[in-house]
Amino acid sequence: MIGSHYVYWLTFALMMIGLYVVISHGNLIKKLIGLSLFQVAVFLFYISLGKVDGGTAPIITEGTQTYSHPLPHVLILTAIVVGVATLAVGLALVVRLFESYGSLEEDEILQRDISDRDTTDRDGVAS
Amino acid sequence: MTVIEVLSGVLLAAGGFFVVTGAVGLVRFPDFYTRIHAVGVTDSAGAGLILLGLLLRTTEWEVGLRLLIIMLFMVITSPTAAHTLAQAARRDGVPVWRAGDARR
């Protein structure tokens, strides 16, 4: 059991480290880093499902009979590039947030939002 | 087991040894400049010897050519990286370690 499933459990451990960073850390860039750790662990999980014992890379050559499954490779290859594109969007949002709030910490940003709302309520002026 | 195979095995083992010494140096050396030196050993001696060892094992000339090209680019890029790092540290005023100083 352990011998045949160890790769899955190791990828889950990596995934959980990423998830922990996303949930516990307040810094937005650190959250994005954690998200990419999580993402890479998911990639590893997919690829490990496609692996066949004694297989080679799915490039057809003469004299080879066993190949690992190409489908997970295709899905993950595109997912990596999509992943960096979405990371860029996240980082662009972080830059804009920093420019308007002067902070990257989730708590401070929320705090400023709440105090802004309080002042507008008291003055009765819409911002 | 031909002579070529033995020779390539020796080269690969030597390359692996240099990679390990580079890693040890990275942990043990006292300051930034000496650590760059350790990393340089990993890149040039370690990777170079491993590539040479692999070159002896190739049977197709296309693969050998690719290994040679990789070696050429390693020879160009890794000293550049080490040099630029050291120069940047120098500009930034990172002090050089002298015998007797504390590790940093």
Partner: protein
Amino acid sequence: MTAFVLVNISLFAILGATALAITRMRALYEATMLTALFSLVTGSLFVLLDAVDVAFTEAAVGVGISTVLLLGVLSLTRSREAVTPRRRRLPAALVVLFTGGTLGYAAQDLPPFGSATTPVRDHPVTETYLYQSQQDMGIPNTVTSVLASYRGLDTLGELVVVFTAGVTVLLLLGPLTRRNRPVKRDLVLADYRVLRVVSGVLMPFILLFALYVLFHGDYGAGGGFQAGVIFASGFVLYGLVFGLDRVQQVLPQRVLWVLIPLGLLLFMGLGVATVLLGGSFLDYDTLRPDDPAAGQRLGILLVETAIGLTVATVMTSVFFSFTGRGASR
């Protein structure tokens, strides 16, 4: 305990140690460099798991582009993280333990690692992808044939996501209007003479390598996505060393704005062309009715070029946006 298992476990150990170090590190520059290391080690694991194409992409994206983007954002913002308060740690740990436990429990139902008789393996589509593809199009790299032909529509969707992400970054960070004032240069990498000369010499080789990867994708690891990322990293290197102005003289923003949708339009236009020729969407057989395999190869080449074009230009213009933002403030 074979050597394969041993190497596997040691690579996973390095990954785990790196990930733990990233969680503990409050200096974000260092965390970013460790993230690059994480990607590189993952790339080695991908090679071990026979996914050479994926390893290639991960190495180019994880070490090249995403590190540069993270560093660019750090230079625009703050690179020091606040201490994570204790009250945030406990709920996170609980969630992680619960999710991890559930996943680990569910993993018992997965087929054993490396098994040759998984449902995916036994499905008839595997036969098609691995062996039928040799008659259908005669391309040795099955990843390329699945990516560009069998699942071409899927890839088109992914490319649309990349395109949309690129446009979103442009909208968020500009530059939608060209500023004509001189840009302040605080990056003085071009003052390092060795670096300047070497990156100038390397630039054409990087672009040549990207073209090789693009057109060699049928026979070995490579293809449009990898080529696009390598192409972009060539321009990113040039921009990092010589500054945004110099690289925009070579590749003006206006040209990028034309090229970004061009790749996507080429891909979609090819699909429409195959429909007009009497086939289904992205069925390249119709390109050469007398020789369907040659038609498939032509279609795959065009699609890979389109992917490479859009990915390269999106990545380059995202980099321009981040660096341009820094220079304009």
